[in-house]
Every structure is written in C-alpha cells, then in structure tokens.
Symmetry: C2
Subunit: 496 residues, 2 copies
Amino acid sequence: MLDSLHRVMNTVTRLDNAMAVLSWDQETYMPEGAVQSRAEQLATLSGLRHQHLTSEESQRIGEGARKLAHDLPERQRLVVENFLEEQERSLKLPAEHVERLARATTLGQDAWKRAKDAKNFALFSDALSEITELKKSEAELLGYEGHPYNAMLDIYEPGLTVDHLNPVFDALGSGIKSLLARIEPRSATVSDEVLFRTYDGQQQLKLATEIIQKLGFSMSTGRVDLSAHPFCTQFDRTDVRLTTRIREHDLRSCLFGLIHESGHGMYEQGVDDSLSGTLSAQGASMGIHESQSLFWENIVARSEEFWHWAFPRVKDAFPSQMSDQTPESFFKAINCIKPSLNRVESDEVTYNLHIILRFGLERDLMDGSLRVNDIPAAWNAKMNELLGVVPASDDEGCLQDVHWSFGGIGYFPSYTLGKLYSAMLWNAMNRELPNAADSISNGEFAPILEWLRKNIHQYGKTEKPDQIIQRVCHSPLTEVDFLEYVTKKAARVYGI
Amino acid sequence: MLDSLHRVMNTVTRLDNAMAVLSWDQETYMPEGAVQSRAEQLATLSGLRHQHLTSEESQRIGEGARKLAHDLPERQRLVVENFLEEQERSLKLPAEHVERLARATTLGQDAWKRAKDAKNFALFSDALSEITELKKSEAELLGYEGHPYNAMLDIYEPGLTVDHLNPVFDALGSGIKSLLARIEPRSATVSDEVLFRTYDGQQQLKLATEIIQKLGFSMSTGRVDLSAHPFCTQFDRTDVRLTTRIREHDLRSCLFGLIHESGHGMYEQGVDDSLSGTLSAQGASMGIHESQSLFWENIVARSEEFWHWAFPRVKDAFPSQMSDQTPESFFKAINCIKPSLNRVESDEVTYNLHIILRFGLERDLMDGSLRVNDIPAAWNAKMNELLGVVPASDDEGCLQDVHWSFGGIGYFPSYTLGKLYSAMLWNAMNRELPNAADSISNGEFAPILEWLRKNIHQYGKTEKPDQIIQRVCHSPLTEVDFLEYVTKKAARVYGI
C-alpha cells in the first residue's frame, strides 16, 4: 500500500517538476511565438496531475495509507498526511471551478495590464469582481472556520487565520509608524545616491553570482539566469534555478534580487533527500519560504557585519564608483528607510505597511465589507493613513501589483510573515550560535546555513509553519523580534 | 469520436513536447547534479505517454476512428492512420521489453564510453551483444517481411527495406570509389588550411546565427543555444530549438553545424498549423529530415553561388584570417574531398562510404551472419576496401559512434538517404525554379524555402518518405542525382 502511495506521489511530483521546467523555460528562454503551445503543454500536464492525484485508484490508495499512517515513523507519517491534504483539496475543487478561474485570471491579467497602462482601475474592476466572486466560491468549496479569508490564507500559509493576523499586523503597523516618526527628522542624514550610479551589467551578475556561492548556494545542483522578474523554482532538490535582472543604474536590483532568490534556493537544496519524489519535497509555506529568502537578503546581506566582508568585493568590481564610499556609508545607503508609493521598491521597514494595507483590503473584499469599485478610494485613504503618501493615479496605487489579476488573494501576507519569521529565527539562531554576527563579518556563512538546514530546510513540507516556528523559536508568530531588529538597525543608520 | 481522438493525440503530443523540453534543458542548461532527477521525470512522462496511447479507452477511440477514416478529407485521414500506426507499434512492444532495452542501453552507453577510452572493443562486446539480441527480439515483436533488418529500417524510414537499399548503396559505393580515384591525383591542388586558423567563438556564433536567419529560420518561433553535440528539437512548430558548438580552431563546426540544424528547424517550423496537437506535427522520417538539413548545409551552403553572397560576410567578421582568401578559394576549402577514418569529420562524398560500411554490418548483425565479436575485424577490412584507410585502434574505428550503444540500429542509413534525397530535391526544384542557383548567389533564399515548404514541410508526418519523394521528384529513391551532383562539384573544385 505504501509502495503504491509512493508511486502515486512520485508521478504527481515528477509532473510538478516537469511543469516547473516548462514554466522556467517560459520565463527565461522560450521564443515569443510559443506562448500558445506552452499553455497547451502546461494545461495537459496540469490535467494529468489532477487526474492522477484524484483518480479512484489514488483515492483508494490514499485511504489505505491513512489507516497505516499512525504506525509509521513520524516523518513518513507527515508525508502521508501532507499527500492526503493535497488530495482532499484537489477533490474539493471541481474541474469546472478550476477552468472558470483559469479563464477569469487569463482575462484578468490582460485587463490589469490594460488598466495599468491607462492608469484607470475602472478597466480592471469587472475582471477583478469576477475573480473575487470565484475566490469567494472557492472559500466555500474548500471550507473554513470563522472568516472566509481564512480559506485563502490557508492556501499559502496553512493554519494561519485572520484572528491570528489582525493583532500582529496592528501592533506591527503602530510600531513601524512610531519608528518612522523618530527617523523622519534625521532622514536627510543618509543618502542612497551611490546605488544609482552606472554599473556594468555583466560585472554586476558576476559579483552577485560569486556572492551567493559564498553564502552556500550550490551551482552543481542549481543555476542562475536572467528574467523580467526574479524568481526561484526547483525541479527537485538537485536542480534549483534562480533568476535575477540587471539594471545598469540600480545596484540593488541584481545583487539583492539574487541573494533573495538564493535564500529560497538554499532552502530547496536543503530539503532532506528522503523526501524526494513526495509532495513534501519543497518548502513548508510561502511565509516560511520568504523567511529564508529575507533572512539572507536582509538579516545577513543588509547587516553592517556583512558589508565588513562584502564591501571590498564590491569595490574590486566597481573601483571608481566606490571610490568615495566606506563599508559604513554603503551599509547606510542600502538601509535607507523612507515611505514611498511602491511596494517592491520600498525598504524592509515600510514594506510591511504596504502589506498591511493589502491584507486589510483583501480581508474586507472576501467578507463583502469592501466592494471592488471602492478599492481605489480605500487604497488611497489607507496609503495616506499608513505611509503619509497618496498616489497621483491608479497605476502608482492599487494597480501596481499583478497578484490579484492571477487570483493570488491571500498571498501578500506571506511577505511580511517572512520578515517576522526571519527576525524570530535570527534571535533563535543567536541563542545557539552567539558568534553568528562575527561569522558574517568574516564571510563564514557555513555555520549559518548549517543551522538553517538543521532547523528548517531538512524538514521540507512535513510541518505546518506555526509548528516550525514554535519548535525553533519556542514562540508563536510575533512582531516583537522584527520591531526590535529594525529599531536597532535604524539606530545604527540614523543615529536615533 | 474524432474529438475524442484529437484529445488523445493532443495529450500524447503535449507529453512529447514536454519530454523534448526536458531533454533540451538536459543538454543545454541543466546542472550536473540533476541527472538522476531528470531521468525520473522523463521516465514518468514516458510511462504516462505509453499508458495514454495504449489504454483500453484510447484503443476503443482508435478503432472508432479507423472506421470513420475513409470518409475523411485526405490529410485528416492520414493523421488518423499515422496515429493508429504509432498506437499499434506501442501495443506490440510489451513494457517488459521496453524496460529491458532501456536498462541494456543505459549500461551499453556506459560500457561504450569505457571501451572507447580504453581503445578496446572487447569491453563493449557483451553489452552490444545483449542490445543486438534485444533488437532481434524487437524485430520479431514488431513483425517484418523479408529481412529482419527491415523492422529496424522501418522505425526510422517507414517502408524502407534491405532490398531497396542494397542496389542503391552498391551503385553509390562504386560511383564514389571511381570519383575518388579521379580526384586522388589532383588532391594536392586544394587546401583547407584556412578553416583551421583561430576564430573568436562569439564572433563565429554571431555570424552563424545571422546567416541562418537570412536562410529563413525564425527566431520568434525558435532559438539557438550551445551544447556538446549540435541538435535540433521542437516542442511545437512555434518553438524550435537549435544548438551548435564552437571550436576556435575549426571554422566549420559552428557555422555548418548551425546551418545543418537550421535545415531541420525550418522543416519543423513549416509543418502546417492544422497538424498541431497531432502525432503528424513533425518531420516525416529521419531520412527526409536529413534531406532538409543537408539541403541547406551542402546543396546551398557549400555551393559556389552561396559563397559569392556569404564570403563578404565571413570576411567582415574575420578580416585578417580571410585576407588571403577569395570566394573561390574558400569554396574549395570547404569542399575538400579526401578519405578519412572519422565519419563526422568527413566530407559530403566519402561520408557515404562510412554509412555503407555501417549499413552492411548492421544488416549482417541482424540476420546473424556477423557476430558481435567479429565487428572490429569486419570494420577494418571494410574500411580498407571502401576508403583505403585502416584505423590504428578501435576508438578510431568501430567504437567511434555512440549509436549502437543506445540501440539505434537502423539509424545510420538515414544520413545517406538524406544526401540522396537532397540531390533529388535540388533537381526537382530546378525544374520548377530554374533560377534557384541565381537566387542563392544573390542571397535570396525565400523562393527556395517557399518551395520546400510547399512540397515537403507543410505535410509533416502525413506521408511516407517514398510517397513524398515520388510525389515531388517523380522517381523512387536513386543514387543518380547525388552522384551527378558530387561529380559536378568535384569538377569545379579539383578541375577534373
């Protein structure tokens, strides 16, 4: 019975791997004329995956395995449970719903692009209304306790609820706002102008690729390519692909983009080999995944210690551009904190206010207390309240993100969860490795990676996010560690 | 019923597409550590393809379609027939046989590499014996009339038999041998030294990529990458991938390699859109495919007319290396004819003797008149007889090709079929387009490509090779056109 289950899981997993290869290729190398045929290929594999996961035989095999599960060693039991959850979720969503959503989001992405170009939310609102209604139906199909948004959160962060998030995000928002108020009078003391000089693209890529290998990303089981938007995907723990993009007038884009993705990548490369060919051979959730990418991008690579080690490398690569810089001035430049309109270009502190805004709107959309047509007004009011800035037009405001157009309601909180988790993990790590910061300033990243491997990576998707955080940090999700971390950093950068 | 059939064909085709993407990636970008997981992915997709093609439901659908086929428009009928043939072939080969062959060829490729490194055929003979026995069983499973080798030929060149090939290859061999005897006294009059000067790799790739686009290869539905061995693969007519390799001291490798592959690629790009999603959306056979690649590589790009147009481009790219060359001297250099030990490095004339040798050995292996252990002696004797050269060791002789180690018995004749077909097509084209050679010398390739599209490409795999050749050339396969073509060329190059 377990052999049969492993055969089913292996087939589903290998189909997932193949779809990931096809999607990676689509974003990196596929010729423009192949869009339609690639969609056919992906639809075929996706259909076969659904068939295979939910066939009567697979259900019978799943039921048999469920009965045996409690006698299995823990990790195997968790693998079986994870499979059963995914099977159950697939069974709950009828093919008709999946197809309607696929059509609505295809149209939605097109409408969103047109609306954004026209700076006019009205061109997107019909499409978004349909997507929202379908996501509400999906919540009913999947089932939930309490708030309907919980069904959406559960897709990306299993077990997370509105009741958990509301108080954490409220406290986080207040904490950040009072920190910003203290920074504001000192804001002119730090300049990030150095980041926007001219930097040769190939040299940027070479530097970034060298640095992620020093951090621990393995190029014998991974690689780096370019794409319009940076991402990480895995076809197996032995084949993890990162992408980044190059901007000749923004030193952050390639370097921090690639370090971020390498954090995702090292997580995938660190999943225990025994999980290979199962649905648990991947990260535990979007939030835990972000905790790994943000750990490396922010906690490590935006720390003063890191630039003690890394600055000479940047200076070697770009001697003239760095001639007026010191490790300290560079550290400050990459840690400028200031409210802005744009989520992806914002700093690690104000970023969270963008997420809190989106979380509130999504939650209210799902319970009907916000109507789609009222999004622009709600957005602008909330921007003003949280960040003190108001977009001049919708493209700089509520049309800036692609997520809603592909139906990704419930996804945004992952980004801030990643920030909160990563600060919690850093504190937990320091309790066990008191010299972690010294390691970083010496360019010794192995102990850091090893600790993450041991505590997080190896488990793959066998535990829920809250179980992982409780096991490693001995605490449920909290904003406290993150606020402490950014307050310390702001003190260093702004002298407050 | 036909809708159901199209759904089955679409699923099988999209799985083929996906496998092709995975294989392409394996040869171009995949990190070394991913070999095992990629094998798992391919095995899974291949198993699903077999299941889907041969399931009871697909058989029922196939039987239904067979009954309707004679009332269909011709192209649709041919699509159905092609599907039924492939289904039948898959049903004839039990999974056990396919698995045994997969294992034997995996071991075989490993043994072949070791034997080649050790220059000792004996290290490969056990593995090759097993592969040969399995291919003999396969012939019995597939069925054949006459010679058992016919079952092998049928895989790559449907309908072709030993009885067809024996007289054509005999006449071809004699014709080439007498041509070589006439060239021999004049061999010192032509030098190919210019090809082996130093040429910057990136500049080579740029030049070759520009040239294939001039020929008509579309980069909006295709692309070019590097790999150890050049190849062409397609994931759909809208996504055709070529690879080439760069050798800094051999100008032929990248340029002619890429032109060759672009000939395969333009064939795939030219298949009629109505065949998309069927098993007929691909080239008709290996031989017809080679006729297209060799048409562009040899008939076009090794012609004097072509270098009238192309030489200035090569000179622009490599002015110092070309300073002592003229279009005529360069044309002669790339058309040197001289017997050598190595198939892939040989010229377009003597190449065929290498194929005739392999064809004879394969044929005799399949009917038992040659034993595997006697291959080296038979090889060396035949090399001496046909080419007048004898390898010093097995790695330069009967171990030079990978084909037998992957079970590709029956494949080699395709290469020479391609040469014979391409010369026949050139004559047929000239009867309809008497200015074809002038077009080439003006760099106007559109009429040539258009003629190939109209007469060959659009049909995809709806006709058998002999039907195509008969329809277009009004003749069955013959060596006459090719011998005439190379005799004319030898006259220009060697003044004989």
